[in-house]
């Protein structure tokens, strides 16, 4: 059974009465546990829209055409209430975005601790988890720094620490390296790769960067609101992934 499975996912944005944008035109997608998948495609093809639906930030359109389905660990989460979706995001998912990932008034550790707090972990336990997560991304010594005192790559690593800290079932990242130069980008990618390999962390990342795509187990290609190619897992990578899992 797939970890995350979507069928008939559609999303139409209504700009005005007449003017609508069909961002997703009926998408079927499946993410296996332990996979590291890239979603690629031209600008405006619906990558972010798909990621927002997979991450329960938006619900798929319920009522034109066949009913949408979104299964997380076998449970249909397509039409949950805002509160229920928020809870799943807090406890079972991790997020990394392109920019403005961190709360500027909080230190690195406090930013990571936010995720703990939302997942119901508080106080000393949260502090310990945050410091540990920062250690995993190589920023243990920057725990008390504000985002403005960190480089873009470091900020992105803090965001990754925050996404990891609750050991979520899946991490969703929307162009996490979009604002970084190629060296920083490689560092961040290496971190994702490492967590996927060593801990079997499921990761979905949206990217424009073919180097990032190449480093993933599988690349889902989108165009015009549809999936053009689901991609194939290389056999050796599959074996490596499953050996860890």
């Amino acid at each position: 059974m797939a970890l995350l499975e979507g069928r008939n996912l559609r999303k139409t944005y209504r700009l005005s009465r007449r003017n609508t944008v069909e961002a997703l035109k009926g998408v079927e997608v499946s993410i296996e546990a332990g996979e590291m998948v890239a979603i690629m495609g031209p600008s405006g093809s619906g990558k972010s829209t798909l990621m927002h639906i997979l991450g329960l930030l938006h619900a798929p359109d319920p009522n034109h055409g066949p009913a949408p389905e979104l299964l997380l660990g076998g449970e249909n989460v397509a039409s949950l209430s805002d509160n229920a979706r928020t809870k799943i995001r807090a406890r079972r998912m991790g997020f990394v975005f392109q920019d403005f990932n961190l709360v500027p008034t909080l230190t690195a550790a406090e930013n990571v601790m936010l995720a703990c707090e939302y997942a119901g972990i508080k106080g000393k336990q949260a502090k310990v988890a945050a410091v540990e997560a920062l250690g995993l991304v190589g920023l243990a010594d920057r725990a008390d720094h504000k985002p403005s005192e960190l480089s873009g790559g470091e900020q992105q690593r803090v965001a990754i620490a925050r996404a990891l800290v609750n050991k979520p079932e899946i991490i969703l990242a929307d162009e996490p390296t979009g604002n970084l130069d190629s060296d920083r980008s490689a560092e961040v990618l290496a971190l994702f790769r490492q967590f996927n390999r060593e801990q079997g962390q499921t990761i979905v990342l949206v990217t424009h960067d073919s180097e990032v795509g190449d480093a993933c187990d599988r690349v889902i290609r989108m165009r015009d609101g549809r999936i053009r190619d689901q991609g194939h897992r290389a056999v050796d990578q599959l074996a490596a992934g499953e050996a860890v899992a």
Partner: protein, 389 residues
């Protein structure tokens, strides 16, 4: 502490809002303290007048009090239901007393023991003793606390009241009401001072020992002062005024109501100005933090949590403003009281209740003002918020 840091991020705007509320709270504290003092004065009077009837000629509060004579006391004693009738003599301590604010300094006299044990209104002593029956013919006095401080007098000292030396035998503890500015003397001594204050021509025709300005009438146990008042009025005729506790309350109740209205007005004004200003500050701070709210919502902050965060921050603005306003207001009342004390004018009484009300009021105001922007923030779509420029 995160809250305080968030406020610090928008120093100028938060500072202006805090200043606005603080000014309102300061006004609230100062006027509230003044109202406390007024209400204490009125409350003290109300207690004094409870369960007795006071007879005078003319109206006591028109300031046009004419002396009555001791023969009136005999007539009053004969009325059914009267337990005791005691002549009193009240006069201004100085004829130039018009410069004082609040209650004037008075010389107050009665016959020690003349209440026959009916009097229930007792003032605690700070030093010495009260006037006793044996003092009837001596020039002794018990001073109210403010007057004692002004005259810098202690028990054993001699003070000059209307050019006559009086020996201080006692000093009352502060009541924060009118008696603090009184000098209590035996009736005979006051009668002498009273006559001396009259023009020489009249002096010659007056026997000091029959003069009084009022008669305090104590009803026998179980007799309603109001019923007694009707009987006294029937007997004395309309040249006399009979005042009971009920009359006193009716007369000064309206005074107290006006004061409460002024206070409520100030409170409403500061509510309006401070509240709108806080809503504005918080709405702007929410707009500035749209993306931050988007991030928080995305990684799992519930709507409720976002609302709470903003309401708490807003309440914090109110709390800080309240503390500052209270601090300045308290400093002002203390300063004015210190300045006034020398002349015996203590005008403010900042009670714990007033302080807590001011703080609670401003904190509540902040919290309520925060609800509007908090509601908006919690309804933001996380994805839209993340994209917000």
């Amino acid at each position: 502490m995160r809250l305080v840091r968030d406020l610090g991020r928008r120093k100028l705007r938060s500072g202006l809002t805090i200043t606005g509320i603080a000014v309102g709270i300061m006004a609230l504290v100062v006027f509230g303290s003044m109202a406390n003092k007024m209400n204490a004065l009125i409350g003290g009077g109300s207690k004094y007048y409870a369960n007795k009837a006071v007879v005078s000629v003319g109206s006591m509060y028109s300031g046009n009090i004419q002396p009555l004579s001791l023969s009136d006391v005999k007539r009053v004693e004969g009325v059914e239901g009267v337990g005791a009738a005691m002549p009193t003599l009240d006069m201004m301590l100085s004829d130039t007393g018009g410069a004082t604010m609040g209650t004037p300094e008075m010389i107050t006299a009665d016959i020690p023991g003349g209440d026959k044990g009916y009097e229930t209104f007792k003032i605690d002593l700070a030093q010495g003793r009260t006037l006793a029956t044996a003092d009837a013919d001596s020039k002794v006095t018990v001073l109210g606390s403010d007057l004692a401080r002004k005259l810098n007098a202690n028990v054993g000292d001699t003070v000059t009241l209307r050019d006559e030396p009086f020996k201080v035998v006692g000093i009352y503890a502060p009541t924060l009401t009118a008696p603090d500015k009184d000098a209590y003397v035996p009736l005979a001594a006051a009668q002498e001072l009273f006559v001396k204050s009259l023009p020489p021509l009249i002096q010659a025709n007056i026997n000091p020992s029959v003069i009084a300005t009022g008669i305090v009438v104590y009803p026998k146990a179980g007799v309603d002062p109001e019923v007694l008042k009707t009987r006294l009025e029937a007997m004395l005729g309309k040249d006399y005024t009979v005042m009971t506790g009920k009359d006193f309350d009716a007369m000064l109740g309206s005074f107290s109501a006006i004061f409460s209205m002024v206070l409520t007005g100030i409170a409403m004004l500061s509510l309006l100005v401070g509240g709108l200003s806080t809503i504005n500050t918080m709405a702007m701070s929410v707009a500035e933090r749209t993306r931050e709210i988007g991030i928080k919502r995305a990684i799992g902050a519930s709507r409720w949590r976002i609302r709470r965060e903003i309401v708490l921050e807003s309440a914090m603005i109110g709390l800080i403003a309240g503390l500052i306003g209270l601090g300045i207001g308290a400093a002002m009342t203390m300063l004015f009281n210190d300045l006034g004390r020398a002349s015996g004018n203590v005008l403010f009484d900042l009670t714990l209740g007033t302080a807590l009300t001011a703080i609670g009021f401003s904190t509540g105001l902040g919290a309520v003002a925060g609800f509007v922007p908090a509601w908006g923030a919690s309804r933001l779509d996380p994805v839209t918020a993340l994209r917000y420029e």
